[in-house]
């Protein structure tokens, strides 16, 4: 790691957006470069939208949007000659997601005649290795989950370990222009350059946390806008890149609440950020200075994320305006669930614990699943039937067997057979796999690089070979 004198210049980091591909405003690049940033850093994903992106290796943001933003960022990299640090590439940061991002970077480089030095940081894990760690007592659970077992590891389609800043240090040492990282802590990616330059850990990590969603922690209130960070010896300053927005004490001090279960402490690879004594001062109309942020070193752990996809769903949706049903939604729901369950059993020969039928009454209590206030009468009910089984064929089979009942069940026996509002035909949709996160565990490592594979691509031929 580089060390610098205590009276050194503040480190300047440009965070162009909250997540790669959400849509950079091109004029912000000029604003940011005018302030001489030393690095561009941002993440490209999160677990917020579910396990599908890790399980499939596909991005949430579409290729065109990611290419557009990467084009702007790579253009800025060329103009300023500064490194670009990307974390959690392709939404989930698995190897497939990293390679998908590399493919776009190479395409832009080819089209524009750029020749950047590219570093790839892979943090996907072999199940075999995770089982070894488990056997060696190196894995512990985070609440609310219990201990890990081998069967759970086997259920995961992909497993990643959350990187800290250290793999980025290695890539920066190697002179990388563009660092395409797998799954990493968002604050670590943004803090990495400053930490590498020897800036203090408390302010660097806190700055990383504040800027992880781009300008969301400012009056711009959106991750589509960029933010500029300066990190000094005992402080950091944050300001939106576009002068029409402002960072305020209220907006910045409130950001640690966001998507974080403890408002003062943030656990990260190798330590904890403690903001209990952080102080926030409005230094200009649009800039906030933060002091007092502390970093408490801890034994080095990496959080594991694993996604499964071993169940399948078929869904059906129907619109109901029938006043008899609207007057007694709970009765209708119970009767429908019983009827469909019996029908599924008789049609497939399965027992009731070998499949799942879930009914959601949108317009009544579809989101909560809880009883609404007494006397609530919906105007309409959109009823969704979610059928889950071990194969797509089975889920589909159950749906087709249930179809006549789901779309035509009368509230009481003896009533004329109704036809509720079908929105389309056929009435059932095979939805595919159910993707779930199974791991909420940390693995202890002796070295922050132990579980990370780093590849530096120096020249075009090598890049193309890796690409092929």
């Amino acid at each position: 790691m580089n060390t610098t004198a205590p009276d050194r210049e503040p480190i300047r980091i440009y965070v162009p957006e909250g997540s790669l591909g959400v849509g950079i405003f091109p004029e912000e690049i000029d604003y940011a470069l005018a302030r001489n940033p030393q690095a561009i850093a941002l993440d490209a994903g999160s677990t917020d939208s579910g396990a599908a992106y890790l399980a499939t290796g596909k991005s949430k943001n579409d290729r065109g949007s990611v290419k557009k933003d990467l084009g702007l960022i790579m253009g800025a990299q060329q103009r300023a000659g500064i490194p670009v640090l990307i974390g959690t590439s392709g939404q989930a940061g698995g190897d497939l997601n990293v390679n998908w991002t590399l493919d776009i970077v190479l395409e832009i480089a080819r089209e524009r005649g750029y020749a950047p030095k590219i570093a790839l940081l892979y943090s996907e894990q072999e199940p075999k290795l995770i089982k070894q760690k488990l056997a060696n007592g190196k894995i512990s659970n985070l609440p609310p989950l219990g201990d890990l077992d081998e069967a759970t590891i086997d259920r995961c389609l992909h497993i990643v370990a959350l990187m800290g800043p250290e793999p980025y240090f290695t890539a920066l040492e190697a002179g990388a222009d563009i660092i395409i990282g797998g799954r990493a802590s968002d604050p670590a990616v943004i803090a990495a350059f400053a930490l590498w330059k020897g800036a203090p850990a408390g302010p660097s990590w806190h700055a990383g946390k504040i800027a992880e969603c781009g300008c969301q922690a400012t009056t711009a209130n959106t991750g589509q806008r960029g933010v500029f960070l300066e990190i000094g010896d005992s402080w950091f300053e944050v300001e939106p890149v576009d002068p029409q927005f402002k960072a305020t004490v209220e907006s910045i001090s409130g950001h640690l609440l966001y998507e974080n279960k403890n408002p003062w402490l943030l656990t990260e690879p190798g330590g904890q950020l403690d903001t209990t004594e952080s102080e926030y001062v409005q230094v200009t109309d649009s800039k906030v200075r933060v002091t007092g942020s502390k970093w408490i070193p801890k034994p080095y752990t990496m959080k594991l994320e694993g996604a499964s996809g071993d169940l399948f769903q078929t869904i059906m949706i129907v619109g109901i305006a029938d006043p008899d049903v609207l007057a007694e939604p709970e009765v209708f729901h119970e009767m429908m669930l019983t009827t469909l369950t019996q029908r599924a059993i008789s049609a497939t020969g399965l027992s009731a614990d070998q499949f799942d039928i879930s009914l959601r009454m949108y317009g009544y209590n579809g989101v909560s699943g809880m009883a609404p206030p007494p006397g609530s009468v919906p105007l309409e009910i959109g009823m969704m039937c979610v059928i889950t089984a071990e194969t797509q064929e089975l889920a589909s089979h159950i749906a087709k067997a249930c179809n006549p009942y789901f779309f035509h069940m009368p509230l009481r026996l003896g009533m004329e057979l109704p036809s509720y509002g079908w929105p389309f035909t056929p009435g059932d949709i095979d939805r595919g796999r159910v993707f779930q996160f199974l791991l909420n565990h940390v693995v202890s490592v002796d070295d922050p690089l132990e579980l990370v594979r780093i590849q530096i691509l120096d020249d075009l031929e090598e890049r193309e070979a890796a690409h092929a």
Binding site: T47, D48, S49, G50, A51, A52, L142, P143, P144, L145, E250, S253, G254, L257, Y258, E259, N260, K261, N262, P263, W264, L311, Q313, D356, S358, R360, G366, V367, S368, G369, M370, V386, T388, V434, F435, Q436, F437, L438, N440
Partner: protein, 102 residues
């Protein structure tokens, strides 16, 4: 007795990782924060009853500097499970808006 929505300038909820939900009640004044942050209607027991979870698993963080009460609790089922109704947990705050405070 005022409702939560009458003494807060903003209330929001979101996943904090795939296994936790976190709700922020941002009070509209120091006075209302001081008066209601420890209301029995916002105790772990009361919150547990609303969301059908165990009181011991709920963490309450009163933050006087921000006039915020932060409430974190484990999801009833992990994000994206077969019974999922609110993947981002972004609608969970709504069930607190009409809670009456004393």
């Amino acid at each position: 007795m005022p409702k939560v929505k009458e003494v807060c300038r903003h209330v929001r909820s979101k996943v904090a990782g795939p296994f936790w939900v976190t709700i922020d009640l941002m009070f509209d004044s120091q006075e209302n924060y001081d008066r209601y942050v420890r209301s029995p209607a916002l105790s772990a027991d009361s919150i547990a009853a609303i969301y059908g979870i165990v009181p011991e698993t709920i963490s309450l963080y009163p933050i006087p500097q921000l006039k915020v009460l932060k409430i974190s609790y484990p999801r009833r089922s992990p994000q994206g499970s077969i019974e999922e109704r609110d993947l981002h947990s972004g609608q969970q705050y709504t069930y607190l808006l009409n809670v009456e405070l004393s």
